[in-house]
Amino acid sequence: AQSVSQHNHHVILSEAASLELGCNYSYGGTVNLFWYVQYPGQHLQLLLKYFSGDPLVKGIKGFEAEFIKSKFSFNLRKPSVQWSDTAEYFCAVNRDTGGFKTIFGAGTRLFVKA
């Protein structure tokens, strides 16, 4: 079955630490990849997306993600986190076949200590 796996359910970091959140997917074929973020009390919003081209994608707020096709991975990174990055992060995938279903991972709760 198609699935998206996020490696960590909870991550605690101090401000200025570097962040990497893992994401692997199990689709074959061409995929489109997303990271969404949900800040406390807010709705899910797009952080960044990859459709094609440069596998290193830059998003908002200094986040970036790298698509490694051979590893079926799309890890999220940020060199130096801030307290305001405290949120839940969701990796998501859909197939590039015109389908309407986006599959989400279980999410990673990030807590950044001030």
């Binding site: 489109n32 969404y36 709705h43 015109g98 389908g99 309407f100 279903k101 991972g105």
Partner: protein, 115 residues
């Protein structure tokens, strides 16, 4: 920035009752979705809707569920006879063109509690 709005923010209902969750997608969007998230679990796809019909649905979306776009602005999810396991956060989303070309814009969600 235009938003997807959902009402109510919290709904409490008794098992066996019908509930209707309401959503107003972004006005020029054409594709509509419902997702749910049971506490502590992943965000799960329920259904997508385009051109006044269901485009795709998951195995969760059984005969107890239905969706409707009763007018030009609202998009509703109805659960006919709620079960305890329907307790979850329900998210509505919309996109302006069909996936995969457009990311989803989500509402704040409706927390459904079935007692």
């Amino acid at each position: 920035e235009p938003e997807v709005t959902q009402t109510p923010s919290h709904q409490v209902t008794q098992m066996g009752q019908e509930v209707i969750l309401r959503c107003v997608p972004i006005s020029n969007h054409l594709y509509f979705y419902w997702y749910r998230q049971i506490l502590g679990q992943k965000v799960e796809f329920l259904v997508s809707f385009y051109n006044n019909e269901i485009s795709e649905k998951s195995e969760i979306f059984d005969d107890q569920f239905s969706v409707e776009r009763p007018d030009g602005s609202n998009f509703t999810l109805k659960i006919r006879s709620t079960k305890l396991e329907d307790s979850a956060m329900y998210f509505c989303a919309s996109s302006d063109i069909g996936q995969p070309n457009s990311p989803l814009h989500f509402g704040n969600g409706t927390r459904l509690t079935v007692t």
